[in-house]
């Protein structure tokens, strides 16, 4: 290839006036081994260009990417969770008329009454116990009054002691 031609092309190339064909020529020239010494510094540039062109996108193209689908599913999870929570809060309030004794079966009613009676017995005994406790309370009160009086005695004792010393 004529060197003059290449130099001309380079000039045009730098002014961005070359056609694609001419650029291909230039590339071919600079990628070959026979590059004139004073043009050597263009070499890495063209090498770089042809190298960069070889880079490819290797990753497989995944179109229905799992990411978006998964996030969508998780979004529905949260919706479901909220619905469940709301149901949990509101369902117990729906049948708000309280159940009466008549709503249960005969067996259950009997059981209920039995336990009621048993509890009554326990409470009665508790009450009698309470009366006994009241007596104790009174005794405690009397003791306290007795103690107060004893205090008087002790005060009296100290005054008599003082008198005796004098």
């Amino acid at each position: 290839m004529v060197l003059n031609n290449i130099e001309e092309l380079i000039e045009k190339y730098n002014n961005a006036e070359t056609t694609l064909q001419e650029e291909a020529e230039l590339k071919a020239y600079f990628l070959s081994d026979a590059v004139a010494p004073h043009l050597e510094h263009y070499k890495p540039m063209f090498q770089y260009f042809s190298k960069s062109k070889k880079e490819v996108y290797n990753k497989p193209i995944s179109l229905n990417s799992n990411n978006t689908r998964k996030t969508k599913i998780y979004q529905w999870f949260s919706v479901a969770a909220i619905v469940l929570l709301m149901l949990g809060i509101f369902i117990p309030n729906w049948n708000n008329h309280p159940k009466t004794l008549a709503d249960y079966t005969a067996e259950e009613q009997e059981l209920y009454l039995e336990t009621k009676q048993a509890l009554k017995l326990i409470s009665k005994n508790l009450n009698t116990g309470l009366v006994g406790m009241n007596a104790l309370d009174m005794a405690g009160d009397n003791l306290n009054t007795g103690l107060e009086k004893a205090n008087y005695i002790s005060v009296f004792g100290t005054t008599t002691n003082k008198l005796l010393k004098n």
């Binding site: 650029e23 880079e55 193209i61 990417s65």
Partner: protein, 169 residues
Amino acid sequence: MNQSDFVTIVMPFKDKVFRLAKRLLVSKDEAEDATQEILMKLWHNKKKIGDYKNVEAFSMTMTKNFCLDRLKSKQAQNLKIVHSNYTDNQASLQSQVETKDSIDWVTKIMEDLPEQQKIIVQLRDIEAYDFSEIAKILDMNETAVRVNLSRARKTIREKLTHTHQHGIK
């Protein structure tokens, strides 16, 4: 349109999308994410794909806008700068190291270019697009594209000449 139809449409230019993304975002991972994103966007709008006159040019514009947005966004603040590994099976280690070195220089010079010029150099010198196509992709007129390209090429040349001579003398 089913998936395989879509893939056949996308196949020819997915690498170009990836390379443009990588040119702008530098990191390979970022570029891969961006490519995936672009393809997903195309797939979601697959019904409209027939309306586009030039799907490739359209996707390149999308890529450009997407990457510039990424660069502006805060997410890109912790962007890693990772150079790709240039694997070449050349004979001597010496020449291998040398070429790798000078090619790295070009990479660095390219990184320093303004975004617009980066894109234009990428589209013209690497992907070999026509000026009219580049003008369409970037929504500029052809003269402006030429001016920008000329500037970019001259910058690269100047810096390369500088480092090259510096290396020798």
